[in-house]
């Protein structure tokens, strides 16, 4: 993967994170049932964390060599 492709991967991740953050906010202000809100917020937060772990922290490629950067 060349530098431009790798940088584009980061842009995809930030767009996904922005959409998920907006969804989070809409859930909080749009739903009254606390149990539903907490459950949905937990799910969205987990997905956001997974996006950061995979796209930004390369967790699935943790044991690659240093010259094999994604």
């Amino acid at each position: 993967m060349n530098e431009a492709q790798a940088q584009n991967r980061g842009l995809v991740a930030i767009i996904v994170l922005a959409v998920l953050t907006a969804i989070e906010y809409v859930i909080a202000v749009g739903i009254d049932a606390t149990a539903v809100v907490v459950t949905l917020l937990a799910v969205v937060a987990l997905v956001k964390a997974l996006v950061i772990l995979e796209y930004f922290m390369h967790v699935s490629k943790l044991w690659r060599g240093e010259g094999e950067h994604a």
């Binding site: 060349n2 530098e3 790798a6 940088q7 980061g10 842009l11 991740a13 930030i14 994170l17 922005a18 953050t21 989070e24 906010y25 859930i27 909080a28 606390t34 809100v37 907490v38 917020l41 937990a42 969205v44 937060a45 956001k48 964390a49 950061i52 772990l53 796209y55 930004f56 922290m57 943790l62 044991w63 060599g65 240093e66 010259g67 950067h69």
Partner: protein, 187 residues
């Protein structure tokens, strides 16, 4: 151990693996710390969130931190591809966003209508304070990474110092991903 065996045992590849393992073990221990604070928040206050908590500021702070993860990623990616000039620029951008985030937290503290001695206030100030101290540490580490990058210490084949700092920054971002809804949105 013979000199040859010692050299194999401490080859650059081996050192890199040990460094990575150490960093992820550190993240694990830090997760326990942050998790304890989050658990205490719900144990003490349930899902209560004050009505007058500044939601817009919370959303802005979250957005700033997420964008800073992108700039940190761009810095690491650029340096991994030998583009040190762009890498340095993105390190500075990440540090600036981190400083803005800290300014936002201080603003939040100064306008909060609750006291640290109140139930929610205890959780809010301790969680945001603990997190902000990690952001401040991350800014210092980024400053060191900038210095090393400026001195030409990082190459596409050897830039673990840069990667480690950026991973730490992303970890601090992951923590906020959970702290933001826990403090601002559950009510």
């Amino acid at each position: 151990m013979s000199a040859a065996a010692h050299a194999v045992a401490h080859s650059p590849e081996k050192r890199l693996r040990i460094s990575r393992l150490g960093l992820w073990l550190f993240f694990l221990s830090e997760s326990c710390l942050f998790g304890a604070f989050a658990a205490a928040r719900f144990y003490m206050n349930g899902t209560y969130v004050p009505d007058d908590l500044n939601q817009i500021l919370g959303l802005v702070l979250t957005s700033i931190l997420l964008v800073s993860s992108l700039t940190a990623y761009r810095a690491e990616t650029a340096i991994a591809h030998g583009n040190v000039a762009h890498g340095k620029l993105m390190i500075l951008a990440t540090m600036l966003l981190g400083l803005i985030f800290l300014g936002g937290v201080i603003t939040e503290w100064s306008i909060a209508h609750f006291e640290p001695s109140e139930g929610y206030g205890t959780s809010f100030f301790s969680m945001t304070g603990l997190h902000a101290s990690h952001v401040a540490t991350g800014i210092l580490f980024l400053g060191l990474a900038y210095m090393f990058a400026a001195r030409g210490k990082y190459t596409p084949a050897s830039h673990w110092g840069m990667t480690g700092v950026v991973m730490y920054w992303h970890f601090v971002d992951v923590v906020w991903v959970f702290f933001y809804p826990a403090l601002y949105l559950t009510g």
